[in-house]
Subunit: 196 residues, 4 copies
DNA sequence: ATCTAAACGAGACGGTACGTCAGGTCTTGGT
DNA sequence: ACCAAGACCTGACGTACCGTCTCGTTTAGAT
């Protein structure tokens, strides 16, 4: 990430960027992800459409940035000395973020939907949202391995999939809650699958 | 489920229905789920758009019907006497369906995407596709419980989520394969989480 | 015009024909000529669309029949011995028909509109509605000529055009009334143009 | 009529406007007024449909503008010192416009047809096309009146109706020619009806 | 009394055009 | 150079009617 060298011209408006983020959250909260059209977003933010397209390639890219500002700052990185407790904490914190801001759930669902229809955005989503979180969870397993908590041929990537798979499945399908109890149970199950 | 009482009028054309299904598969195979517009579908099937809207509320509803005809007929119901083997078989067969017809994967991804943007279709998707498969897997666990294979407070629904969670996560994100090896490993992990 | 040879089969339903005429008037009265779609007409008359297309080539043909039943029966044929009085009477009676049934005016306007978009119907309209009335007015002028009321080189067809031109112009544009006073003035003007 | 205040934004494309006018004439010339669908017009003009609907409420409104550009510029205003000669000249010139551009006749017929089915457009048609021409002819009669050529209680509006009534009647029904001879005869007849 | 044949209601069919919405681009004047 | 505004072309949407085509049913005259 380099500091852009400015060679004259009007500087990029941080004000506009914030207005766009705020307008996006307002729209999603008000009418769901479907209300997030580029037209509506520009109008709600009091911004020209060109300003949107100048800085982001698509609606989804904007929303990815928004959700990263909402949640990325604090990817949990627990280190309690026990796999089970680490998992419990990691998942509980992860689940809680979604309770905080009501727009997060619709945003996650919309982002995953957009990623299905736009392969290049799927790549961005993986790099910008999914993989950082996988890395954090992977660290938990690496530490557990060092402590000898994992069973011999435990597939760490599969274990990560177990955790995030259930998370996303419930986010997308909505058939089961995402609360502390669910986090604990899921942590137990994953720990059991991974442990000696 | 009642047989619709016909009181005159031209009967529904089965020919058109089949043409629509076939055209849908052709379009998805050719250009991805994004090529599946109602206009293109009607044109490709040689059908009026009204015929689409007469029988289905949305593009997604059509595709749900298509995918059910492709795959529902044989939801695996293994009963080998062992949870681990049942799981292995169930998941292997489930994964294989997607290898058969190349349109299945894009279809599943598109259906889940549409479900995120249309709550009423999410309900249909759950009732028509997700829940029947959950029920089949649930039966596997119920039989295992009868045999005393499950640990005391094993949460069957969570175990089902583990299996389908990983499945869908990989379908949607595409970071890991869905082959027989993956099925076996996943079956092992789920069995380990559930067993005594 | 031959009597159609019937060789068995259900006879045409007069009931349906009347229901169609009545429904047409109801629709025009209720929503103007624009409400007269074949679908709406069939539904309002409680009749299958095929029944419409079996007996009439177009919406306009139906409406031509309807208006002929409404008004044709009494094309005025005054013979008072004076051109001016004949004209006055002819036009007054013609204008009055339109005050009787409120659907007549929208019908006439709609028929003329349809005739502009369908050349073959224009032919029918001329033969079925316009020409019979021209013939009646022509007879008035022929009698006047025999009485020596016309000026030497009076063009009778132009005189007929003067009368019907003003009539239709006012029907279509609606800028001036069509009442007894208008009839009298118009009769005066036409008589003045035609007389010695 | 105020100049529209522009406060930013891309200005209206005169190029598009001209392309639409030209395409409209091409379509009418090629396939009659019936070929003038909004879809076809947009395609022929290489223009988005939204551009049509942004500036005009209906097909008819576009065509009204087209025909005004074709003909309005030179509404005849003869002033020969004689009612009969003024009329002859006015009508001859009016008739001739239609011989120039072959699309004019179908356009006039289509406009009148549309006006019958859309009351709000009838209003526009009167204000934009019919009334300006009536005004020009009215001026002819007003001058004649000043010269004392009119008979005492001559109804000028009726005289105007006589002229335009015959004109439109022949345009719409097509039973008689619209040439210089017809113009002369009609002028004679109207003059006779109006004169002392 | 049955048979034949056409008209009947209903309503689905392949189409065309509608008027709207959103996407992504372009063109102004203004900061 | 960037901005808000807003017009531009494209293309898909969902709806309304068109005129045609099956269906099962009804209704008469001919057998």
């Amino acid at each position: 990430m380099t500091v852009p060298i400015r060679r004259g011209g009007r500087p990029r408006s941080e004000e506009a960027r914030h207005a766009i983020h705020a307008a996006a959250l307002r729209l999603v909260a008000g009418g769901g992800y479907g209300a997030l059209t580029m037209d509506a977003l520009a109008a709600e933010a009091g911004v020209g459409k060109q300003t949107l397209y100048r800085w982001w390639p698509s609606r989804a890219a904007i929303m990815l940035e928004v959700i990263r500002e909402l949640a990325t700052m604090h990817i949990p990185e627990p280190d309690t000395g026990s796999l089970r407790r680490d998992l419990k904490q990691f998942l509980a914190l992860t689940f809680r973020v979604q309770g905080q801001e009501p727009a997060v759930l619709p945003l996650l669902r919309g982002l995953m939907a957009d990623a299905q229809l736009d392969p290049s955005f799927l790549t961005e989503l993986r790099a910008g949202l999914l993989e950082p979180r996988r890395a954090a969870l992977r660290a938990v397993f690496v530490r557990a391995k060092k402590r000898g908590e994992l069973r011999p041929r435990c597939d760490v990537e599969l274990c990560i999939d177990l955790a995030f798979g259930v998370l996303w499945y419930r986010v997308l399908v909505g058939h089961a809650p995402l609360d502390d109890g669910a986090a604990a149970k899921l942590a137990d199950a994953v720990a059991r699958a991974a442990s000696v």
